[in-house]
């Protein structure tokens, strides 16, 4: 009787044999091969039973502490940063607004072609005005919270992480609105957004936890350039612009009447 090879027996043991039934039948009849298989099994079981010391629950943290100082900061390619989830949200919001503005402009039909172009432009501007207004509102809120926050008596460290994260998100949005304002030639808006961006970056780049003294210094920086006041003024201006751009009911009705006539 021809014995099965060691390879065949190991493949059978690992469940990878191409002739599983054939090997199984052979093992029934051949005590020598059955003994060989048992021996392989015993060796591999011993191997599996060899103890490995448990490095501990915090082993990963220890490894990180050891290697972190040796890891150079990676320089992101400009396009890689765009795909970070938070930036994707900011980009998505702006893209959606631009698309919406474009779409609304396309579907706003008017009997007089010149008037149509003007309407589309107005609608687009209105959408952007609303979006920038909301952005400034959120920025104002974060600045207000920071300016009004006071450390508890005896508090040694103040946690900034959630504020930082919000500021980071706002920086992304702010950059896009500032670029839009520059493109549209709105210098005043672009300047305010630029100043706001610097303050938001200051907040986003501050340490996760700050001492009351560091916090106070940040508050002073925010207050010193009057950004909160400027943001309020621009936001108020936007609201007025939005109100002024909203067509009055009379004008809307007149438009409908004119279209009906046509």
């Amino acid at each position: 009787m021809k014995h099965r090879t060691e390879e065949e027996l190991m493949a059978y043991r690992d469940g990878e044999s191409r002739d599983r039934a054939g090997v199984a039948a052979h093992l029934e009849e051949c005590p020598e091969c059955a003994r060989q298989l048992k021996q392989i099994e015993a060796v591999l079981s011993t191997l599996n039973a060899l103890p490995v010391p448990e490095p501990g629950e915090d082993y990963g943290q220890r490894v990180w502490r050891q290697i972190a100082p040796r890891l150079p900061e990676k320089k992101a390619k400009w396009w890689e940063g765009l795909f970070l989830p938070r930036r994707m949200v900011a980009l998505g919001t702006v893209a959606a607004l631009v698309l919406l503005a474009f779409f609304v402009g396309r579907v706003s039909k008017s009997p007089v072609p010149d008037e149509g172009v003007a309407d589309a432009h107005q609608v687009r501007e209105r959408v952007l005005v609303v979006a920038v207004g909301e952005h400034l509102g959120r920025s104002e809120m974060i600045l207000m919270e920071l300016v009004n926050a006071r450390p508890e008596p005896g508090q040694k460290v103040m946690n900034m992480s959630s504020t930082q994260k919000r500021a980071e998100d706002l920086v992304e949005e702010n950059r896009l609105y500032r670029q839009t304002a520059l493109r549209d030639g709105d210098r005043a808006m672009a300047n305010t957004l630029e100043e706001l961006e610097r303050v938001l970056l200051d907040i986003a780049n501050s340490p996760n936890a700050v001492t009351p003294a560091q916090f106070e210094s940040l508050q002073k920086r925010i207050e010193s350039n009057g950004i909160l006041f400027k943001v309020r003024v621009v936001n108020q201006d936007l609201r007025e612009r939005e109100k002024a751009k909203k067509p009055s009911p009379d004008r809307e009705n007149a438009g409908v009447k004119e279209r009906n006539k046509a």
Partner: protein, 215 residues
């Protein structure tokens, strides 16, 4: 500030997201990968090197190398498998270097510590105790450890990856920079050597049979 193991800025992220963020310049995202995979890499490294000190060195070096090569990772199977392969590669190089050094020290004319010349390939055979002495499981484990140490680095890598970690032959072949057939042979050869070394325990009393013999 201590974050949860699987989070960055309090946000749970997957391996792929952590890789993406690390590449985007957020070094702290790499911490998630290190903390998530260190223990399994350690276990493999310990099995390959046979001691805790070397295993820890392998783990650290593997994560350092993985960080340096992260741009090349480009979403291969998964980060765990990838860093595991880097660790296996480094472990095999380390063992080879250590063995070369050992052999150099034990070359004819370079006496061993006891002043006698040592044949490095005879370590297991020569030190094999009698079957009576090898009755206890602790001795069996010690004998297995010794037998593993006597394998070549490629054999040890092959047997650890195949029978401990359950890796596919192709995966082992990639680490050994070999083809599937040669890798299979390496695994068989390694198991054959282990069988031979453990014969007093497995009870055959015979040397591992050469393959395909007729009785």
């Amino acid at each position: 500030m201590r974050e949860d193991i699987d989070t960055v800025d309090g946000e749970a992220i997957s391996d792929a997201q952590a890789v993406q963020r690390t590449l985007a310049g957020h070094r702290d995202a790499y911490r998630v990968l290190v903390e998530r995979h260190s223990r399994s890499v350690f276990r493999m490294a310990y099995r390959m090197t046979g001691n805790g000190h070397d295993a820890e060195e392998v783990v650290q070096e593997a994560f350092l190398r993985a960080y340096q090569k992260l741009e090349k990772f480009a979403g291969e199977a998964n980060f765990g498998t990838w860093v595991y392969r880097i660790a296996a590669n480094y472990a095999i190089d380390r063992i080879r270097k250590q063995n070369t050094e050992k052999v150099r020290r034990q070359m004819p004319g370079n006496p061993g510590e006891d002043g006698l010349e040592v044949d490095p390939l005879s370590t297991v055979r020569d030190s094999a105790p009698s079957p009576e002495r090898l009755a206890g499981s602790a001795q069996l484990a010690a004998k297995m450890k010794e037998a593993l140490e006597a394998l070549t680095p490629a054999e040890r890598t092959a047997v650890v990856m195949r029978h401990w970690e359950g890796c596919a032959i192709e995966e082992i072949a990639a680490v050994l920079k070999s083809n599937s057939n040669a890798t299979k042979n390496t695994v068989f050869r390694a198991v054959g050597k282990l069988r031979k070394a453990l014969e007093p325990f497995t009870g055959s009393g015979q040397a591992a049979r050469s393959v395909g013999n007729e009785s």
